[in-house]
Amino acid sequence: MKVVLHIWRQSRPSTSQDFGQDGKMVRYELDDVSADMSFLEMLDILNERLTAKGEEPVAFDHDCREGICGTCSLMINGRPHGPERGTTACQLHMRSFQDGSEIWIEPWRAKSFPVLRDLVVDRGAFDRVVQAGAFISVNTGAAVDANAMPVPKADADKAFDAATCIGCGACVAACKNASAMLFAGAKVSHFLHLPQGQAERDRRVLNLVETMDKEGFGNCTNQYECEAACPKEIPVRVIADMNREYNRARIKS
């Protein structure tokens, strides 16, 4: 199949001065793409051609290529990870596009995710949110017996829904306000429903929200684009969980 690609090319990291003038959309054509190729394999082919011609290949993030690491991060035709629901860009296949399609590929756009090069963005802001409280403190040593602490199935399911987050940033990329509340909410909800999360419950949500705000993410307006874009289909319930937890912790402190 034949595809026309429009790809954001940027040769150096974004500077805060001329944000947006650092790069531009460039048009490429590929006319022998197999429908069975993954989206990233299609980009690999493009890069081989570019390299053969002595041009700079397109930089894009990827690692596991099996939908579990959260490294791939492409805005494809205005949707994070492309048109399929619950699918990362690395698990997307060219059969999801029609022959002759025009495909627009852009990096995640958010002030908190500055572009490093082409389609690669710096997601360090997410790491700092995690460091602010998305963990439990335990003594190291032998692993605790798995059944030592009983957890009702319904609670375990809620925690697990949130824990499936792979930290890719699709929620921020999709949100009209570049808000990270689905991500931060997933971290809160992940521990909220488990006994292990209770000791640091208040501190966790206060620090997470404070760090999220400081990193310059926007504010949720309950449009739920994040939920629709999330490759792990994390529900917006986690945002309501975080709102309640934050107010509770604020009142107590």
Binding site: S179, G216, R237, R244
Partner: protein
Amino acid sequence: MNWMLDYWRSSIGGKVTMAITGLLLFGFLVGHLAGNLLLLSGPEAMNEYAAFLKSKGALLWVVRCGLLAVFVLHVITGIRLARENRNARPIAYARPDTIQASLASRSMVFTGLSTLVFVVYHLLHFTVGVTNPEHFTMETSAGGHNVYGMVTASFSVVGIALAYVAFQVVLFFHLAHGVQSLAHTLGLHHERFTPMIKTASVGVAALITGGNIFLVLSVLLGIVEVQS
């Protein structure tokens, strides 16, 4: 007081401020419509109700000031959040798309600011009497403020009636998203009830704005008697 400002400045504090002030303003709209439905009971009922409110003197002013404070807080917080949201994405997508965000949810800033313009006009029109003084100064046979006469005389003017209808349509969109949004902001999310809240949000928005439009059209189409 510092903790209040600190809370307001946080993302969730700002959202909760929007939700609580939005809920209070919504409550006002319910009361406002309930009172104005007296228009259907004729001039005596309407003017008596208006005189009753006026007779409350100081209490009326306390309520008015409270309402103004809530309104101003809603507007200021809304503008602050909208600015932060704009700053959070300095570069727009070259080819943007929307998956499931409703039209109403995407136009909150526009519908909100339009409502601000409308409220200012509405106050100049009926509360201060600047835009149509000839209607504002109408008197009852007993020499009191003739609210029924003022309202019916104004809404029988096609331009005024249509402007009110148009602003109510805009307000419908603000409330259709606003009511469901405030529930989620306040932490209400439930597998069974959230879909009902979404439907109810559109429903109550339609009831309130539909009720207002019904009153305006009742006058324009001569269903209630016009005094002039």
